[in-house]
């Protein structure tokens, strides 16, 4: 007997009502039930950060939250960053700074950075940025470009 629940959640501003089995993680629900395949799945136990999304504005590993827990919540995924074909400042910076190579970890890094930058008042120093970017794993080891991209956006947004 499956334990199923009817939930309602908003993803990138779009409302969804969906029936989910309780053991499906938010990452499963986003990718397989709702088709938001921009959220990538790596380790599925909270180490790699590839599945990072924003849940009510907070960065979370979507593999460590059950889909049913997102009932009534606002989710942002990498698909929600750009304005149509126009990339966000953060996405442009990743491109400009060569902050992505194979691209697998990129959605997670973008959402991690988006969350971190949104809570900054001033411009974080490089050590702080590095500490936060250590949350996720890039197996191409392209961290220099990622750190540079986040720093540039922090400066741009601070004016």
């Amino acid at each position: 007997m499956k334990d199923i629940h009817l939930i309602a959640l908003t993803v990138n501003g779009e409302e969804h009502e969906i029936v989910v089995e309780s053991r499906r993680t938010l990452a499963d629900v986003l990718r397989h039930d709702l088709g938001y395949t921009g959220t990538h799945i790596g380790c599925e136990h909270g180490i790699c950060g590839a599945c990072t999304v924003l849940l009510d504005g907070q960065p979370v590993r979507a593999c460590l939250v059950f889909g049913v827990q997102a009932d009534g919540c606002d989710v942002r995924t990498v698909e929600g960053l750009s304005d149509g074909e126009e990339l966000s400042d953060l996405q442009k910076a990743f491109s400009r700074c060569h902050g992505l190579q194979c691209g697998f970890c990129t959605p997670g890094f973008l959402m991690l950075s988006e969350a971190y930058l949104s809570e900054q008042d001033g411009v974080p120093d490089e050590a702080q940025v590095r500490e936060v970017m250590a949350s996720n794993i890039c197996r191409c080891t392209g961290y220099q470009g990622i750190v540079e991209a986040v720093r540039q956006v922090a400066e741009e947004r601070a004016g």
């Binding site: 309780s22 053991r23 499906r24 993680t25 397989h32 039930d33 088709g35 907070q58 460590l64 936060v132």
Partner: protein, 299 residues
Amino acid sequence: MVKYDIPSSSERSEDKDTEWSVVKPAAFTYHRAYDVNDTIAQLAELGPDAKILAGGQSLVAMMNFRLARPSALVDITRIGGLDFLAKDAGGLRIGALTRHRTVETTKVDGFEVLSKAARWIGHYPIRCRGTFGGSIAHGDSTAEWCLLTVLLEAWIVLQGPRGRREVPATEFFHGFFMTAAEPDEMIVEVRFPRPAPHAALTEFSQRQGDFAVVAASARLDLAENEILTSRIVLGGVGPQPAVVDVDLAGQPANEETWRAAGEAAAAQVDPPSDGHGSGAYRKKLTATLVARALAEAAA
């Protein structure tokens, strides 16, 4: 709904009735609680194989590995009023659902050790989701909050069908993820009885955010340059936070004292060997980290 022809799943055989299925954890029933009494009632009804789901940053990872297979989860994340740090009669109370990140970003006079130690917990997104009470309930022997509750002689406040009770942290952790909490009890808050202006926690892990190979925490009471009382608690050297029997009362607060205390602490422990380090290596780390923690506590 998007459909996939090839289910990539550990569950293919188990879920033959479904068109496709991609899941990691074993099946459980999900229940949501809206207050503490509701939680306790649900736990009693669901039986001892039910678990409380708070931040889920350890539990869900263990469920994804199927190291944990609870029959039911009671989600307490929507209970209001348990997310707080409150000064209380000279001490501090922390609500069970307070996120690590909140502790990290809240400076409380006399309890700076908590916000400083928080940065050792996992990573930023883990700290945004994980909860103080959840970490205590999980009872990992290297967990920063477990060490600090023992170091600062905090009280774990539990509520269950038999009412409310307080358990000293020194008696709470029974080792290997076992605690004094009964299956039908819930941690509602942690009470720190008095400030600890001279306290510190430090640790070593192979990579930032990993579990500590060894963690050391220290608390001092100082008068001028003399130590009045001292307390040292270690993680990673045994199945639960280990209180070291080293009394520094009467000694001067200087590098020589810290170094000698580190050596004395290392002589007392008999740490296990595993893939992250041998027992001998952990002993050396203990000496170094205890000296560091003491120096930082005195600073």
